[in-house]
Symmetry: C2
Subunit: 336 residues, 2 copies
DNA sequence: CTGAAAGCGCTTACAG
DNA sequence: CTGAAAGCGCTTACAG
């Protein structure tokens, strides 16, 4: 590989000049410039970004760690971050924590070691807030995505209260009196928020606490058992809300196994939903988050902080939309 | 950030010694070692991997570019590569081409610029073999994953002839005489191989060429139109094989729209299949590839070449398994 | 408008 | 068993 020295020699200039031509960092006489460009061509010189990064102590690289790149919502967020990073001329290093706090910690370490200029993090469910606080101490900027925290970070996520409330209203207005919320692992902020909003909304809709069933286990086996138990009650729920894709899958399997048909035997709605969801029979009422824009927002927040470390930590929440389908019964909008 | 010089001063040794303690590259008197370790502790020194990489001109990093990280099969391959890379003490840089040759080219450039020691590539459909040939010229090792080439690369993928043949046999033995293969974009090697095997297998099963319908368009709209046209024939196909997830989705939508029930109105099988596929009604007969192991194999091939650049390029093909479900009619195995 | 030179933080022959 | 020093390929004040 040719280096700057080779180019400089061939063009008969100093490496300073080559550097400035390559980076456009100071004026160079047009004729000289052409000579340098030609020498670059001839030597097929390529800038060594590692050496450059080391000298400048910035890498023009940001890191993104997601808890599950396979889920459609996260895949979309990744796309949003990718696109925004590209627009800012920054390369993205991607990592997967697979919802494992240890892998997450390892990924953080690796990315910081590789001197990313900043980090976007969708935390694993079990990730401790001590770990997060520690992250906040070091000086690489961190933006939280999807999963929020009370700590003073830049954050991009979604609004949970309103869609939860809308779903509860939707069911209550159809006369449903006993609702089951499958909330899952409420260490995850989004799930916790949906759980809280559910209680408020259901109470506001006039449901007694006995009529508000909730499942907050983290283990799929336990969740499944609790759904079974709920359905075995003398007065079982008539509508189910799943707070995420995995939870929806568990719930749907259980309903299917029991031969319960949606929406007649039981009404159903879910957050996030499935890829190729139009193939499901019946189609599922789904709270669709603007995942791409969440990714864009996270990346923009990071770009802003990279430009000015002193700005106030900001939390941005985007509003999901609800796609009403047949699984939840009659639609409140002409939208089926 | 503390540097090696800080540590060396504090421990009263040279930076050589610090370096050798950190990397375990030569024996250091135990007492000295302890002093260095203590100094590292006290200064909370962390090795600068960039400086190290630059000096050694290797980064202990490999790059992985996939065409669609969202598809379950690719997600699994990524996991396989990740795990294997971790076992080899190598960090993985991930990139997405989203089936776009230009993004792929950009990702390749970025990763090579960041001096990855090697590259694993699941090529985008439209990626030219000139681009690939050029890649083969430079000296960073490249392993092809899933999508193969005739060029002399290390490659890890799957066997396509046998599962295709098995599916054709499966349908023929049930008396199906007119089969439709939705092959999709046959610039993709896996799809092309399935198409070729289909012809051979169908002919071997005694089907005339008129009874072998194939769709080789790349554009979803065109594929859909051609499926419609096939179903509109006087003698429409009685069984459909989709060669990938996206193709399956298009086909299933069309069948659904026409109210065709599987397997009675039309039999159906697909390669790769869907996430949460157990929620589909009826369950889909699926050629399941050992995607995780494909990832592992690709990473191992790369590790081998990194260790010895002179080994012969090797192609490894792993055998998929077929999960026979209700969508394709009666099962040839006691396999649900 | 351009160049000489220091230095980013490491590794590694070389020498003792 | 350890150290002095060169050098990886750049960038960037400083000087002219």
């Amino acid at each position: 590989m040719a280096t700057m020295v080779d180019v400089a020699k061939l063009a008969g200039v100093s490496t300073s000049t080559v550097s400035h031509v390559v980076n456009g960092t100071r004026h160079v006489e047009e004729e000289t410039r052409q000579r340098v460009l030609k020498a670059i061509e001839e030597t097929s010189y390529r800038q060594d970004v590692l050496a450059r990064a080391m000298r400048r102590s910035r890498t023009d690289t940001i890191g993104l760690i997601v808890s599950d790149a396979g889920e459609p919502a996260f895949a979309e967020m990744v796309r949003g971050v990718e696109q925004t990073a590209a627009r800012h001329g920054v390369t993205l290093l991607l990592a997967n924590s697979a919802e494992d706090p240890e892998r997450e910690a390892r990924a953080v370490r690796t990315l910081l070691e590789r001197r990313v200029d900043g980090l976007i993090l969708a935390r694993a469910a079990g990730s401790t807030s001590e770990a997060l606080a520690a992250l906040g101490q070091q000086d690489t900027p961190v933006v939280l995505m999807d999963r929020m925290s009370d700590l003073p970070f830049d954050q991009a996520g979604i609004e949970n209260a309103q869609p939860t409330n809308d779903l509860v209203q939707h069911f209550a207005s159809q006369g449903h009196r006993r609702l089951l919320l499958v909330a899952g692992d409420i260490r995850v902020s989004t799930l916790r928020e949906r759980l809280e909003s559910f209680g408020e909304a259901a109470t506001a809709a006039g449901l007694s606490s006995l009529e508000q069933l909730t499942i907050t286990a983290a283990d799929p086996k336990v969740i499944e058992a609790e759904i079974e138990a709920a359905l075995d009650r003398r007065e079982p729920p008539t509508a189910v809300i799943a707070c995420g894709t995995v939870l929806a899958a568990i719930a749907l399997r259980t309903l299917q196994r029991r031969g319960l048909r949606m929406p007649d035997d039981i009404a159903f709605a879910t957050f996030d939903g499935f890829a190729y969801s139009d193939l499901f029979e019946p189609r599922l009422t789904t709270v669709r988050q603007p995942a791409f824009d969440v990714g864009v927002t996270a990346a923009e927040l990071l770009a802003r902080r990279l430009a000015d470390k002193s700005v106030e930590p900001t939390t941005v929440r985007l509003m999901p939309t609800i796609e009403y389908r047949r699984s939840s019964g009659e639609s409140p909008e002409p939208n089926a």
